[in-house]
């Protein structure tokens, strides 16, 4: 199975590509909508600004092809900003929507912390998933981002919010959240929903633990 990396010009694609190749996967870069449509597996490694990413995907005619792929059975992995693209949007850019396969939006960090979450942190496994299978709960992952999907609030389509005090205090993680990380506030570090996968950290930069995540992703494809 070939891994198709969506190439819109992001800086970290070569590292992700190399990591998959190191694990024995064959890879290709997709720069056209046709290449995306033909893909068996799609990966979107992205960094920088949400608005710039969505604008670039639209401008390069890749967004519609991605939308159609997401409507079908093609497995999809979003990395870092690529994760935010799979959600409904980001506070970084209110006039650009994400692809919305996960409910919720990325929000900036609270003022109490450094402006950016930059460095190695650990995650808390909160649900059964495939990407973290066999990986120690003490493993460290490399994060480099400003915004993230908050994990402390109830979210999800179709959920009836009953106006009872206890429901208002319920802090259920968002739909699909498999692991959360705490920096200023809890946020989603790993999300899975059917054949859609999203990671906030950079697995290609997270040493052996990161390689294990990518290996698990490849394993989930079989």
């Amino acid at each position: 199975m070939r891994i198709t990396l969506i190439d819109y010009g992001a800086g970290n694609l070569p590292s992700v590509e190399r990591a998959f190749q190191h694990l024995g996967a064959s890879t290709e870069r997709a720069t056209t909508p046709e290449a995306i449509t033909a893909a068996q597996v799609l990966v979107l490694p992205a960094v920088g600004h949400f608005g710039a990413l969505m604008h670039a995907l639209e401008a390069q005619q890749l967004a519609e092809a991605i939308r159609q792929s997401l409507a079908g059975p093609v497995p999809f992995l979003g990395i870092c900003l690529g994760m935010h693209a799979l959600y409904e949007g980001s506070a970084e850019s209110t006039d650009r929507a994400g692809f919305g396969v996960f409910p919720g939006r990325a929000q900036p960090q609270p003022q109490s912390t450094h402006l950016r979450h930059l460095g190695w942190n650990q995650v808390e496994h909160i649900a059964e998933g495939r990407l973290l299978r066999g990986i120690s709960p003490k493993a460290w992952f490399y994060f480099a981002h400003t915004c993230a999907v908050a994990a402390g609030v109830a979210a999800g389509p179709g959920r009836v919010i009953e106006m009872r005090p206890s429901a208002a205090r319920t802090a259920e993680p968002p739909v699909g959240a498999v692991a959360i990380c705490h920096y200023g506030r809890p946020f989603v570090a790993v999300a899975e929903r059917g054949h859609w996968f999203a990671v906030q950290f950079h697995p290609e930069k997270s040493g052996e633990a990161g390689m294990d995540v990518l290996r698990n992703f490849l394993g989930a494809l079989r």
Binding site: P14, A19, G48, H114, L115, R116, G119, W120, T146, Y183
Partner: protein
Amino acid sequence: MTLARRIVPRLDTDGSRLVQGVGLQNLRDSGDPAELASRYGAEGADELVLLNLPASPSGRAVFAETVRRVAAQLCIPLTAGGGIGSVEETRALLRAGADKVIVNTAAVREPELITRLSAEFGAEAVVLAIDAKRRDGIWEVIVRGAEAAGENVVSWAQEGCERGAGEILVTSMDREGTREGYDCALSDTVCDAVNVAVMVSGGAGTPDDFLAVFTDGRADAALAASMFHEGTVSIRTLKQYLDSRGVTVRT
């Protein structure tokens, strides 16, 4: 969960080979940076800094190739720099495999460069390196090894962050090469002044120096060159020591 403090080997090159020496004189070839990178990655380094020294005769294409070869050996972040002064040069290093690019002298000459790089590549990809020398109770910004730029390190670091630098790398030119320990007062002052991660360089000689810069100095990351290259202490031993002293490190 707290972020781990980062241990970061610094590899100075002449464009393609690791070099060591004091200042820019008497540089001696110390090996292949890609081989060393592979070893440091396996030993638990949290990141690598790869520099193209200013006096190096090698062109940009040669250094980009070195970045590519080093990045190919790593699955940890790589920060690269040395004489970077434009969006195109930054893009070349990022496409070669660097995750972050360092700007120093060019940014002092033209602060707008930081703004442009941050807008183009995201703040997470831009590191503002500041060389500092203590004088009359404050720290001055130094460029090209010895020349005072007429700026205060603290205000320059703050301006850099406002312009979009995602991280600051501050080097004490007083301590660099001395192995007498980091300038923890400099580290603490800069960390206090900005709200981005701060990497500190210059003076590492012993594991206690790292302990001091992470506690008294409050640094987020500490760099060392010869201390690691000469095998004075392994990264693994250093991390075990720091962990035993209560510093959060990735083990």
